[in-house]
């Protein structure tokens, strides 16, 4: 990462280290391009990708014929295809779409029809009794449901980490703390101006998520869309709550939102959320006690036994929504520039599909593709698979984070390598430390000692994630 940044001309500069940018960087690297990723924050995954529900969507409820649907389907298929080689988790949960009112019940046939139109033909209509048999903890007021067997759960962080790590191990360069401020295209290459000096690249991909329109404005002088951040708050319950449901419990969506979901996490917790709240601010997702309490209540309405469970974490994310329903992905003629904007609420599922689509656009723009003959396949540490966790293995050096059973060796390993974290939040996303029920009561001191002088911001003065 120490090359003179102004002399090398990269093939592709990817702006933004969200899940989309990570997948795009990977795709170009595997297609033989020399890639640089520019991320303005101290670590990747600091924007919309910081907090989501972690569902790997089939696209059953996506708008038929949309680019979003195509990308979700391609992304879903590729995730299943590559996950074992990258050691990424998959919780085969399946989803139930639940109708609690007469009106919702009446909407089920239409939703099932939409699913079939979208090519998701293995859905199963269920009576309330059948659904309750599958999920006995569901409230008895259920009226009807249908099952989507292939809606699954993944880990929102290890997936993008793996994408970017694979890009890096196949030659990509990551620059963090590096905001793109402007740039000009001279007909051959872009000369980007960043907070850390100039960067040159033949093609620029704007994957700036919540700042996509601003980056467009900076580089092309105009905006084709406007980001309208939509906040989603979540409440996470302790691991004992995860036994209350196997399936992802989805409501019948309203016109504006997919509604409040109850599902397990890849780490064996249970989450309830998200809310859908429009706001102006692109960076601050404020948690609101009233909304969190309402989520808790909603969770208890769906799964009454949740009343006895402990909350271990609360968080909020911002969806990069726009005034349009579909994704805003577009190649700018004559500019060697591709905008990947408005990846609103399905980006974790669609990222690999978006990356394919973007790479195909780049070929049309004239960027040659020369797929690597033998790409490197890094393997991510097993944070979710109970059977493979490091605390079971010899030489783990002991457990540091007792709630999530994170070992010293896992923390040490995460602190090394090309994607080493710069902040506590980054370390948490890579290892799960302090993410459990005690939220640092037991391990803060030890972690602070372990990470002393090794993070860009000392642990005691860094954001919590």
């Amino acid at each position: 990462m120490s090359q003179d940044s102004s002399s090398e001309v990269f093939d592709v500069a990817v702006i933004g280290g969200g899940v989309i940018g990570c997948a795009v960087a990977r795709k170009f690297a595997l297609e033989g391009a020399r890639v640089v990723m520019l991320e303005k924050a101290l670590d990747i995954l600091d924007g919309a990708s910081k907090g989501n529900s972690a569902i790997l969507h089939t696209g059953f409820d996506a708008p038929p014929g949309s680019l979003e649907l195509a990308c979700i389907k391609a992304g879903y298929a590729e995730y299943l295809d590559i996950r074992e080689r990258l050691n990424l988790p998959l919780v085969r949960a399946g989803a139930l779409v639940l109708a609690w009112t007469e009106e919702q019940e009446a909407a089920l046939p239409g939703l099932m029809e939409q699913a079939r139109t979208n090519g998701i033909t293995d859905i199963q209509p269920l009576t309330a009794a059948e659904a309750l048999k599958l999920e006995p903890e569901l409230a008895g007021t259920l009226r009807a449901a249908f099952r989507v067997p292939r809606e699954h759960l993944i880990d929102p962080w290890s997936a993008p980490h793996a994408y970017l790590l694979q890009a890096i191990e196949n030659g990509a360069v990551l620059r963090r703390d590096c905001e793109v401020l402007g740039g000009i295209y001279d007909g051959v290459a872009w000369r980007l101006e960043t907070s850390r000096g100039g960067v040159q690249a033949r093609l620029v991909v704007n994957a700036a998520g919540l700042y996509g329109d601003i980056v467009d404005e900076r580089l092309t002088g105009r905006r084709d869309f406007h980001i309208k951040p939509r906040k989603g708050q979540f409440v996470v319950f302790d691991k004992t709550a995860a036994r209350l449901t196997t399936h992802i419990l989805l409501p019948v969506p309203s016109k504006t939102t997919k509604g409040i979901v109850v599902c397990r996490t890849a780490y064996g917790n249970l989450l309830v959320g998200p809310t859908a709240e429009e706001q102006e601010d692109r960076s601050v997702a404020e948690l609101v006690p009233g909304a969190l309490a309402a989520l808790r209540r909603r969770g208890e309405e769906i799964l009454p036994a949740l009343a006895g469970e402990e909350v271990t974490a609360i968080y909020a994310g911002l969806r990069p929504a726009t005034e349009y329903k579909d994704y805003r992905i577009r190649a700018h003629e004559g500019k060697a520039y591709i905008t990947v904007g408005g990846i609103r609420s399905t980006g974790l599922s669609s990222a690999l599909g978006v990356a394919r689509y973007v790479q195909a656009l780049a070929v049309k723009l004239g960027l040659p593709a020369q797929p690597l003959a033998e790409p490197v396949w890094p393997r991510l540490p097993a944070l979710t698979d109970e059977g493979q966790r490091d605390w079971r293995a010899a030489g783990n050096a002991g457990i540091v984070c007792h709630c999530e059973l994170v070992t010293r060796r896992e923390v040490e390993a995460a602190m090394e390598g090309p994607l080493a974290p710069q902040t506590l939040a980054g370390l948490k996303r890579r290892t799960r430390v302090t993410m459990g029920r005690c939220q640092g009561f037991y391990c803060s001191a030890e972690l602070a000692a372990m990470t002393r002088d090794r993070l860009a911001v000392a642990m005691t003065e860094t954001a919590d994630g």
Binding site: V235, V236, D238, K239, T240, V284, A285, E286, L287, V288, P289, L292, A293, R296, G308, E310, V311, T312, A313, I314, Y315, W391, R392, A393, A394, G395, N396, A397, G398, I399, H402, C403, L405, T423, L424, R437, C438, Q439, G440, F441, Y442, S444, A445, E446, A448, A449, V457, M459, T460, E461, T462, A463, D464, G465
Partner: protein, 416 residues
């Protein structure tokens, strides 16, 4: 500690805090051969290890000690008594009959014990569990985390924090701050009264820290570091104050995650195990003592409980403990009452090795009468004046002998 963890023992004690270490010593004194303490931290001693302040040790050592000195003495005494203390060993599963799943630096392991004593203590309720809003800046700490940073690492995480809560531990937080030259800008308490007893409550005045009653925190603000909090004021309004940290103190919960994931019965009211008057869990191979039973007591109290549990288990190993049997189940018939420990009483009050006291807690300040009812008949009532988080006990002798079913504790509150 060179050799690897044993595969079997007479008694395994989960947690090497005051309760676990006291029990271990008692077991050894009673002649039990192999007593193993399993402690997940690199050092035994429990929470007092990082409480670099007084007062600890009056009951145990007849003198007032700082937490770390107290912890060191407990450990030394246990080692001298021939207790096998295994540190950096985490118990990961409690299986029927006393079989434990472990994680050690050498990997997963198993330990089969004739009896297991659970002494895993408590933790403070986190900011997340309290659903406090705002952003998630760094510098929001529990007292436990603060003490670790200050006393173990000599780090100063902030200089002008707000302290939330007025329990005993909240005052520990003030002392910890003072030790590091940290000056809290306010101590806030959602209730109308200070929770801890006099004389502790004089501390804010002495340290000239504003004490704000009827005041909660609705939001914590900041980017990478706390910049301020929104307070909910007594009139229901909100007021922002600047600060660079928040210490979220108290509201302890038993560290019962291991228990909740196991076959053992948990009392949802106390958050700890469901035990009988001998400290025995629903699987009679398991016993429990110390703060795990209920949040929260002093180290001395937990130590005494541990010592009693050690003696009880020694008798159980010699088959001289009464068999578990059906008796009275104690339930709370008033929302002013939080829990009763033990939850089950089946033998007369004077039975050898029975606890002599039932520990109760209230959920809010209560003035009135506390009574007991069985099958709808009131057996007795007595005056009650109680505050949340404060010790409240009823002698086991106040329960009738030879009855089965449920015994309801109730409260008749005085009209305000």
């Amino acid at each position: 500690m060179a050799d690897s963890t044993p595969q079997s023992c007479d008694v395994a004690i989960v947690g090497g805090g005051p309760a676990g270490l006291a029990a271990a010593v008692a077991l050894r004194k009673a002649g039990v051969a192999s007593v193993v303490v399993l402690e997940r931290e690199a050092q035994a001693g429990g929470i007092p290890r990082h409480c670099g302040h007084y007062p600890f040790g009056m009951r145990e050592f007849n003198r007032v000690l700082r937490g770390p000195d107290y912890a060191a003495r407990l450990v030394a005494r246990a080692l001298k008594s021939g207790v096998d203390i295994r540190t950096s060993v985490t118990v990961t599963a409690l299986n029927p009959g006393g079989r434990l799943g472990l994680s050690t630096p050498e990997g997963a392991a198993e330990l089969a014990a004739k009896r297991v004593l659970l002494c895993t203590g408590v933790r403070e309720k986190s900011r997340a569990a309290r659903l406090i809003g705002g952003e998630k800046p760094g510098g929001v700490l529990s007292t436990g985390a603060l003490q670790g940073l200050v006393y173990l690492n000599h780090q100063k995480p902030f200089s002008r924090p707000v302290v939330l809560g007025t329990e005993l531990v909240s005052f520990s937080a003030l002392l910890t701050c003072r030790h590091m030259g940290i000056r809290p800008v306010a101590m806030v308490e959602p209730a109308s009264r200070v929770t801890a007893r006099w004389p502790t409550r004089l501390l804010p005045k002495l340290l000239r820290i504003p004490l704000l009653l009827d005041t909660g925190i609705s939001a914590i603000h900041g980017g990478s570091k706390v910049t301020g909090v929104d307070l909910v004021t007594p009139d229901g309004g909100t007021r922002h104050i600047d600060c660079d940290g928040v210490i979220v103190t108290g509201a302890f919960l038993p560290e019962a995650s291991l228990l909740r994931a196991s076959h053992l019965a948990v009392d949802p009211a106390s958050g700890g195990p469901d035990i009988d008057q001998f400290g025995r869990c629903s699987d009679p191979a398991y016993f429990a003592a110390g703060n795990l039973l209920r949040a929260v007591e002093t180290a001395g109290w937990s130590w005494a409980e541990g010592r009693r549990a050690g003696n009880t288990i020694a008798h159980d190993l010699k088959s001289s403990l009464p068999e578990p049997r059906e008796g009275l189940r104690l339930v709370m018939a008033s929302d002013a009452l939080k829990y009763a420990v033990p939850q089950r009483v089946a033998y007369p009050a004077g039975s050898p090795r029975s606890t002599t006291k039932i520990q109760l807690r209230v959920t809010r300040p209560v003035e009135g009468r506390l009574g007991l009812r069985i099958d709808g008949t009131e057996l007795w009532s007595k005056p009650l004046s109680a505050m949340p988080e404060r010790r409240l006990t009823v002698p086991v002798s106040m329960l009738p002998d030879g009855r089965k079913g449920t015994a309801e504790f109730f409260v008749r509150e005085q009209a305000k």
